[in-house]
Symmetry: D3
Amino acid sequence: MPVAHPLGALDATRVPRFAGPGTFARIPRIDEVADYDIAVLGLPFDGAVSYRPGARFGPMGVRQASRNLRPRFHVEYDVAPLEMLQVVDAGDVACTPFSIDAALQQIGDHARDIVGDSNRRIVAIGGDHSVTYPMLREARRKHGPMALIHFDAHLDTWDTYFDAPTTHGTFLRRAFEEGLLTEERSMHLGIRGPIYDRMDLVDDARFGFKTLRAGDLDTVGLDGAADAMRQRVSDLPVYISIDIDVLDPAFAPGTGTPEMGGMTSRELLHLLRRLDGLNIIGADVVEVAPAYDHAEITSLAAATVAFDLITLMVKSPI
Amino acid sequence: MPVAHPLGALDATRVPRFAGPGTFARIPRIDEVADYDIAVLGLPFDGAVSYRPGARFGPMGVRQASRNLRPRFHVEYDVAPLEMLQVVDAGDVACTPFSIDAALQQIGDHARDIVGDSNRRIVAIGGDHSVTYPMLREARRKHGPMALIHFDAHLDTWDTYFDAPTTHGTFLRRAFEEGLLTEERSMHLGIRGPIYDRMDLVDDARFGFKTLRAGDLDTVGLDGAADAMRQRVSDLPVYISIDIDVLDPAFAPGTGTPEMGGMTSRELLHLLRRLDGLNIIGADVVEVAPAYDHAEITSLAAATVAFDLITLMVKSPI
Amino acid sequence: MPVAHPLGALDATRVPRFAGPGTFARIPRIDEVADYDIAVLGLPFDGAVSYRPGARFGPMGVRQASRNLRPRFHVEYDVAPLEMLQVVDAGDVACTPFSIDAALQQIGDHARDIVGDSNRRIVAIGGDHSVTYPMLREARRKHGPMALIHFDAHLDTWDTYFDAPTTHGTFLRRAFEEGLLTEERSMHLGIRGPIYDRMDLVDDARFGFKTLRAGDLDTVGLDGAADAMRQRVSDLPVYISIDIDVLDPAFAPGTGTPEMGGMTSRELLHLLRRLDGLNIIGADVVEVAPAYDHAEITSLAAATVAFDLITLMVKSPI
Amino acid sequence: MPVAHPLGALDATRVPRFAGPGTFARIPRIDEVADYDIAVLGLPFDGAVSYRPGARFGPMGVRQASRNLRPRFHVEYDVAPLEMLQVVDAGDVACTPFSIDAALQQIGDHARDIVGDSNRRIVAIGGDHSVTYPMLREARRKHGPMALIHFDAHLDTWDTYFDAPTTHGTFLRRAFEEGLLTEERSMHLGIRGPIYDRMDLVDDARFGFKTLRAGDLDTVGLDGAADAMRQRVSDLPVYISIDIDVLDPAFAPGTGTPEMGGMTSRELLHLLRRLDGLNIIGADVVEVAPAYDHAEITSLAAATVAFDLITLMVKSPI
Amino acid sequence: MPVAHPLGALDATRVPRFAGPGTFARIPRIDEVADYDIAVLGLPFDGAVSYRPGARFGPMGVRQASRNLRPRFHVEYDVAPLEMLQVVDAGDVACTPFSIDAALQQIGDHARDIVGDSNRRIVAIGGDHSVTYPMLREARRKHGPMALIHFDAHLDTWDTYFDAPTTHGTFLRRAFEEGLLTEERSMHLGIRGPIYDRMDLVDDARFGFKTLRAGDLDTVGLDGAADAMRQRVSDLPVYISIDIDVLDPAFAPGTGTPEMGGMTSRELLHLLRRLDGLNIIGADVVEVAPAYDHAEITSLAAATVAFDLITLMVKSPI
Amino acid sequence: MPVAHPLGALDATRVPRFAGPGTFARIPRIDEVADYDIAVLGLPFDGAVSYRPGARFGPMGVRQASRNLRPRFHVEYDVAPLEMLQVVDAGDVACTPFSIDAALQQIGDHARDIVGDSNRRIVAIGGDHSVTYPMLREARRKHGPMALIHFDAHLDTWDTYFDAPTTHGTFLRRAFEEGLLTEERSMHLGIRGPIYDRMDLVDDARFGFKTLRAGDLDTVGLDGAADAMRQRVSDLPVYISIDIDVLDPAFAPGTGTPEMGGMTSRELLHLLRRLDGLNIIGADVVEVAPAYDHAEITSLAAATVAFDLITLMVKSPI
């Protein structure tokens, strides 16, 4: 049952947006409310990246850019999300930068502490994409196998890299092998670029993913893509994971493995808004590496998307 | 009556574009000609911004980037604008950085000095968006109430902010209250993002604005948007105000309140070019904050747009 | 006859992409193989630019960004290009920075040394656009007059600039006068912006170019543009020259004469992929100026495009 | 009486420095402790600057860079400052960006609320230099007229600018006129560059300032400068105000009015450390404008200096 | 005879420094006064550089940064230079970017036009260092052979590079061969780094240069260096040429061939100020490449130095 | 016995420095010569950093900046180092980014392969500082325990961090525990800033380090520091390790844990040059993180220092 009178974001007419607390969109901290429905959780880990590191500063960068949001009334969704449910900033998971396995364990444990046996949901902010793995596990603990809507330039279903089973490019294969995902109900959107091996595509299909490549948007259109997503997911519990590199590097330069030819930010927002009403049990936005950003445009895109994910959750109560 | 033999821009085959005078597109200074038809006027004021300041350097940045223009023959408009009318760079208004009211007064006075009782028109370069307010007043003095085509990510019709009646987010409410705008003939294009209050939309409609949100472009298309603009304005005198943040941050990072999901630069140029032939009495491009720009892409976009505005004026003699 | 067992790119599962040799996409150096089919050749010359210099660092920048590529299996073309033909990095031409004529001569001589009387082809990486001139000459020596597909914001068919006959804005007029191009079979794509003189368009048409302006994409669509290219070229030998400024400055800020309103990177990739099967005898990507880039997005776009050009050549054996 | 067991900074062996709360140096928030001795207070106001704005983001930038500090044991001062007194982050004053007078009033009121009739002291983080004015007033309320050690490239004792009496370049004249400063006991350090008028020096001397210009360091040496400071102040209550532009632009590019030929960061730290034991009643570091910074070097310098100021206060209990 | 009542710089209390004309330090244009004593002249040529180009934008960058100067009363020199002599901004020489010889000829011709048979002097702003060559020639025409005080990281007396006799690294050998310099009376300051050949030092000494390497400052001290300069020059006519790369890259990143271990900006200013009273007949500051600058620190250093050069000239009337 | 006729660096009068192979200073690759004396080896690992990652791109960045060097005759050392011994670029160690232990093992193995039982020496380019650990081990294998000259802002003798025994802040404690270092003969230079615990200093002294803090340079002077180094080391075999953060952030912004108040680049070069003649058995420069650099100033500093280290080795044959 949602909180009756949620505590919303700081009033920008009283405290300028460039001042005041540094929580996501200046919403309350987790310790400022008695209970909450949705927690924004930072996952500052980037030990599993194969190219540019730096996503450990992602939560910090996204929170800072989120100061520019006006998180009261969301016109596209026709809702004031922070008046409907209690949303809080749960801070960061304090995970080691030195071990992939240990860090993902710490993230999973922390997520479990937040959710417990409640209906609380988490919008996670990465961190490299490996952090999605423990979040999927935690979601499965609560909701069973799920569909996954995966916005990304890359499949992330490769096998191993330097003998490491779980990296930001392999975690989805691990997730499939572990039974976290319902078969034939997940979807990649925005995939592009050459790959290491032709077999990668075969394997990926075997793991039950349908793929809409970035270039396909020019043929099926935004509505075609949106319809495909909704059909794929139907009324299953669904987790939404957004690697910010799904956007073209022009829109998201601040990321670890940029790939030419991606989505525009307007396309991504359009597709997200077509997920309205699905049964969303968890979500994240990952791979923001502020050291490569400029004028905070990547962090702002991620913050905007994170607020859309919150709004989508508000509109699909569980 | 236009000047018979206008003095055009410096010849790039004699003086390299990276050399020579720093006027807009290297056109003549106001004191180099006996009379003129169109004046480019810098409004270096940014005391009314709510987030990132820096638009005080906008006129300087836009002029510098305008060196890269080739302002002779405008293919899309099939005209050599600087051969048709005398266009000059009128320099900057010397306004105080310390008081919104005083600065806007100085801007209005300076604009009045330029126009007097002639048919001269001004293409202004901001500065934050509050500088449009005195320009609208001056246009009304000459032409009576007008239609407004307003490209922006934000409505700018909010009420007050920290007790200040006139800021870059509220000046259009003030303009409406003051009777500067013909009722039901103005239009916002490119609006997007969440807002402070659901009532903001209601108020905005009450002030006579029609709104085409950025995402609407994906449904009505460029032609639909252009037709809507032309219908809205018809043959009324019209002022065109372009907040550079109407562009997505990828295209215009150098601005004060960037908003994800905006127009592409090609869309903006397309829409502007569909205004050909309207009765344009004044225009501006504002909110360029060079400190957040890179490789001058924002300033170059604003300079390009300013040259289009000049060309539109040339094609609608008054 | 292609090499039987080409030596491919370094394995990213053994040597991280941020390590190892700095050749294009970590393919072999020219001296590591007995023979080869396609050579990537750096042309680090920028002495013929009219605005921002810096493309002398283009080959270095593009090679560095090409580390991020995964050049094994090219999904869009359904081919593993480096397994089909032997592709090598031929290094840079050591050309003087102090004389246009001498440098272009050195480039032409070096290209001739590479090709000789073999069927080897070159994908050149500029440098400013003047470097295309000696490459066209070398291509004509082998294949006779050719069609040209020219992606660019600018026509490059202007006459002279400061008495210099061959610059990055005039070389195509020189190429036409010299009989390098088959009449009426070449095409510009992505042209935009004002120009110096109305006659420039007349001259350009006289030189046998058909032009698809950037804004035309919004009316004819990607398929219309692709069809026009293929019809124009038919089965003629064709050279593909890509000035990276064909992209909008948001996608390619790191260039010498940026122009607002260009193509998106996805549009460029789409058009390139529609050239599949044409008789491609040479190609280049030019005008990358890393000093104006950020987060390597321009260099990465150029590297991606260069790999597509290689793949197109692989699919059109000569 | 200092707090018995102060709550220190977050343990960097448990929570990585790039994670966790965004308070200054990750010390406790003001609401997390019952009482405190020293408060770090953000003053995000930049409406009184004459050149580059942006210091409104100073408190945010300094806090972010302060994550990199290791604020346990201060070797140069041989003390663990956070174990001696309770230091807290008091957040930001919520002041209007639109009116100098109103904002300075809000800052003064907030400072008074913090200090009340206790012995609490404040280390303020600007903000432009005008914010020092209300802090001096508040210090005088408690301690009477004081000496001022003023590190700055500029005198800040000019009269008016655009009719505004209180700006970042004039506030010290106002402070003198108001009797906040003990006569003949204050000192400027680091002054340099040409000035508007020869009389500015005469006036400044009349207001009781002794000046050590940046270039004087090469003749009197660090020890000579330090001795001069200590003699000037003696055992008077002293306020230390550090405009970050006292550093050369190489060390502090992120500021509003940079001036060539300044101090090195090591010189500034050396001089600060020679203030050990003085009777310090208040302090600030101002004029950090992050938009002009790179790699956070200016913000890090300011954060380091702020921690030194805290340590100096700890060593001079009042 | 100096002008009786010189026209000074724009009043910063009436027109904010970020507004108004873009002349150097906002002094008058050359066409605004009847006659003048000192002309600031832009030499936007960079066709003779061996590494990073971009100094063609040097004059533009230095003028822009010079807005931040307060050019009234120069405390260190105890003089109001603009009240003593008429100083003007003479704009840029319109020289071709495509030919070293032609460009240097154009520069020399333009300088001669300015000076004629008057006593006017020029402070030139480069451009790469080759532009000093025609300025030395023009100075010799008027004053005969001269001493040269040369601040630089590099000797610039190398022989040829790619067969080009005159480049930014060889022009001083040419100047010596041509008899422009008095034998044994010139001096390099700030030289550092490895060189191409041991013989370079021998040759350089043969050309009559004395060298004070950057590291020597740590042994002879600033006063020792200043004394050496004054002794070397004595009462000869002297030209002062400052390659901004004499500063360490920390102080001047925006240059073409940076070299670790250079002077600090305070050291350079100190040495310049010790030239007070010498018989200065010409001066320049060169090699500012704004594309590599950040926060305008290099341009500001060059602008500050240029104003010191003007002041030095004012204090040594000829 | 050194190679008789070493192959030197590419001739910059034939191949411009911005062209040609990307080896360090354009020296030969390891496979281009039969044998060699000194190998430059890249160690692209940054998995052991506690704050900003990115040093995995250090070797790439340093090699790129090294193009600007003129590595023929080293004036300060009066030697042409590349004519005395054969120096090669040995490329990068291909180490995993995902495991500290595995990566350090790979680095050690690779170093052993290079050295074998020859007298070859290595100048390593990091990578984070943990990479020094296997290099010390390899040096001990050949030469027994050694003295260490350690330039750094931090002690790097902390114990553990998140349970990881070997990180960039702890490896020197491990090295001491393992007996790699001769007791009481090592020295830290440039240490500064607060620390985690007062005991850190006690421990560090126990491990046999003498410390010269950055601020001590202002009292003992450069000569005092140099004398202390030479006395400490005497004729022992010595390893020189340079963390680039020993420089102030103004000189080296591109690093992972910048610390205000460091050395200038001239001071560092001065101190290095005083090591001339010591018995240098190995050396490295580490912690260059190019993502935080600008204009390559940090990479250029590291490249310059690496060339000095090579020269020092050349002058101390073993």
